[in-house]
Symmetry: D3
Subunit: 235 residues, 6 copies
């Protein structure tokens, strides 16, 4: 199966669904991570282009931990909008990766517009991926991909409908995140008092307690027509 | 009374509120159907302009079944956005039809952005229709129209607050939809495995079972200030 | 049409749906008010039996303002439970009044268990009123009555789905409530800082502002099978 | 795996989750159906004991269609309450059937208190089934069973979180329901205008349209501690 | 503490959170009011520029009642969109006022897009105010401001999570609103049948009844990462 | 101020609001913990009376850590119901402790009926505590206490509306819980795979991440009439 995570910034996929992506990869699915914005505001001191390039390389390295491919859409960090270009870029990412399952942000999160717009547009365009009259570089998909929303940042306002046991891949998730050296160091601690490495442990453990396992990640499936949403496509 | 259905694509009004429109028409209300996009992606083989023109004629024919008028806004299929042009076009549709009641898409549907943006903008601009300082071809309305949301595609996530008994007009609804020959044939079955003629029977019957009649359609009224939302303006 | 309000305490029907009941009565419907508990805790000084009898007479006088009948179920104030006796008493009230429409408390209110249990049980037993094998003094109804929930006390957590314009009957509502002399005087002001006469003015005006008229009352219909819930049975 | 459906009346399990039970059975799981009340009001003319016995035999026959066992709890129809006896009976049903998965009514349905109390208590006692200090005929379970709520009657207010494709077992579902001869004949048509055989077709088809298959049934998992709710236990 | 109200039109802050702003001011906090659009459609007869200028002066006068400062963003009334310019303007308003608390519109209101977009964008950009790589005239904030949503117009669909007792500042609120002479006169009565001075009395009294005081205003805090949302920053 | 936690079992208060209780106590408020059931099923081997007595002593010891008083209501573990006796016992607990604030379980939790009934009844009877005609050992309260719901077990389905920073009292919370030796040892690990000491760390840290502090606990205030719910009574 072909799995595509579409997230707003470099490191988002790792933080919010890295254990699930690793589990897909481990069982042989083809995993792709699309990063929508270039992360260029992610530094207190480096100029935009420089930090963006650093983060792109970190994202590639993180993807490599599980043998995933990276698609870099390169939109401007913090200034993503729902435009024709955004829609077509995300359609193309789905087509290029031949996505059958898409993991993306939950559109009701109040955290950051890059997240909500990524989630909203990714679900919005799923239905367009199979339409011949919408032309992008890759050919139309044969089937509309199934969309799962990953949890909101810090789980605020989010109650998972489905849980994935990531006990066996939690270390891989940690390794993936650790590749984002520019983000897991002092910058986010200074900026937000947040420590990403500890945060993923707490949240995975919290979702684990909720779902009766050691570590877990939570999801809500997008219930939209016309998609085959019986069964579960989570690993 | 003047009733305006504002829907995203040719055939949406017929599928989701055709029985109610027919009931309005049957009792003597003036019914108008506004189609926001041109439906140009709605074919596996025809070029955009050709299928758009075919669908416009089908929409006119469907409207004629109940003596309704058609307003064709002509926005690009699958690429509707909330812009000044979109807002003004919909305001003008409301003014031109002297709308007292508006039926439009439910903004929380996860199906397609043309639907959600049509529903969102239609409700958003209702309050602007009476404002003299917003100028369009037709003069301002005397009263803000009342907005009802029609159900989401396949009813996903939607619980009607009000039901209309369409037992007596269900056949008219079928006749309206049948005019959309380009859509009720093989194309959507191939594309989505969906058969629109059967779908409207199942959904009308399902809403009928829920509401204790043979066939029904479901709605949620937009509860927004300052509108007279006492009583019901549904037929 | 036969309308039955089933409320927890004497004065509840007047406060929360008195304007609507008056409107039903004014247009010729037969209105009955069932008071489930005896209101015996409703005094800072009088013994239980005495205040209960005073309140029963006040309830009769209030009902008479609009020509309504009173059914006094006499359950213990503040100690209502969902028991066989409670269910059968409410079934009998519906049958005796030949109820086609029932107005009762909203079961999700956090105010007082007499309210929530009255609302819950009244909706629960609606389906039993037509069943021959459930025997009470009056014969089974021919049709399951339609249930509307009146708003929570002070409207907390409650968003009406339907509004009734009570501008023309608001004075009747005031007259009805004024009959509850034991309650609209100092006792509730001392006990709760609440002034029922002012409260009904504020709330009716607030619901009026929301719905675009002078005075209004708000309702949510119980959407339950198998009932004909198309159209509206509100006046 | 051991699957237990706990429903309020004879025929409820068949109507609301019969296709899923048949699918479990077909793949080799052990299926048990527990009927909580005796269905004694389910006739316009027969005395209570007689119709109850008829329905018990029908329930056994329906269960036999898929090789399921029947547990008859025998509580009074329409007068189920949350009591110690109710809790212990349902615990014992779970223990006797060694339930690992429980399908039961959705507690927020407004249809009938037998349904809501069955659903509420079944979820409530799941945690007690493993407790040694709560003694019933059968020994404690080793693990708390996972609870799924089946949909409300007529789907009112219910949005499934998970769908099961029952295309291959829909005919078995029809055969199961057909065994309830006393209920699928004229009585419910006269009483409620409802035709159970048609209703299951409409609802299965409606859920099928929503989920992209021919026939489906919908569920919501009870998300409660401490249960392993990762993955899915639906067939 | 520095408090910033960001509202769509001149008079919105006064109507929906004026009592709370006055209470902040009274206890010594620094209050700023940012008006996002120019209110240019707010007259039945005056040309746009003229009424916009009148309203700007009214807004200044209203702010002065409580010693607050006014920031006039000057976007086009009824045509606000989520653009880079909108985001940067609101970021700059937060930075210029050194906002620690932001009061803004509730994004789920169905009243008017200027309101929902103001609320949405104000919450969206809160996280950007501290980012060095996002440059506006004023320097980045040291801490992400806490966002509270004020209630929807007429309270439709809104249930406050926190209430502020404004009994002592209700008169100040009235004085603030009275400065908007162009709006509290006949225009809105003719246009919408609404009387702003009476409306604030009814709504403050309604929220007061709900929360057990004479006059109150209601709020919902935006629960978003990474913000310190313990305790309460309401006065 | 007088604070009363009313929880279902010995150790519930410590686990779900111990940090907040410690914070109240630390600043000088009088804290009481009422334990509704006797915890008699809380052992794999001990007879009911013995384990109940052990747990009562543990509860006293835990309360003593913060100088709180313990009220032991002694209802049967796992068999709590909403009865007159339950209501009167909880009223008396509120009166005896002169409660101004009550912390109790969230009634929508799906975990265990002792929890939901404790939460439901505690909120239900708050309004009865001041009524002279409801007689218990202690005199009526002067004012209805304010009720806060503590979070569901494992936070399932629960989104806090208010957070309390318990960083400074988290160690006290740990000390309180550690007194429940019969529960924090092997029994619950064997029974449920749960380790209470670790769980409180994970959950407090998770709520801390959500709310921007080290450790936090989350609450939802019961919004019910007629109570003064302005401001916050949380520490």
């Amino acid at each position: 199966m072909n799995v595509l995570a579409i997230c707003a910034h470099p490191d988002d996929a790792e933080i919010w669904c890295g254990g699930t992506l690793a589990k897909y990869a481990k069982r042989g699915d083809k995993v792709t991570i699309a990063v929508v914005t270039n992360g260029e505001v992610g530094s207190p001191s480096l100029p935009k282009e420089e930090i963006a390039e650093i983060r792109r390389l970190e994202a590639i390295a993180a993807a490599e931990v599980i043998g995933a491919e990276l698609i870099w859409l390169g939109f401007r960090d913090e200034f993503l909008f729902d435009t024709e270009e955004t829609r077509l870029s995300i359609i193309e990412a789905m087509r290029a990766s031949k996505a059958e399952v898409v993991l993306t942000h939950w559109p009701d999160d109040l955290y950051n517009p890059d997240h909500t717009i990524t989630g909203q547009v990714s679900n919005d365009v799923a239905i367009m991926t199979t339409v011949p009259n919408i032309v992008t570089s890759s050919p139309p998909l044969a089937k509309i991909p199934i969309v799962y929303f990953i949890e909101s940042v810090a789980g605020l306002g989010f109650q998972p409908e489905e849980y994935v046991d990531i006990t066996d891949t939690f270390e891989l998730k940690q390794s993936m995140l650790a590749k984002h050296e520019s983000q897991v160091g002092d910058w986010l601690k200074d900026q937000y008092g947040s420590n990403a490495m500890e945060m993923i442990e707490v949240i995975a453990r919290f979702r684990g307690i909720q779902s009766g396992v050691r570590y877990a990640e939570g999801f809500i499936r997008a219930k939209a027509y016309p998609r085959n949403i019986t069964g579960s496509l989570l690993p």
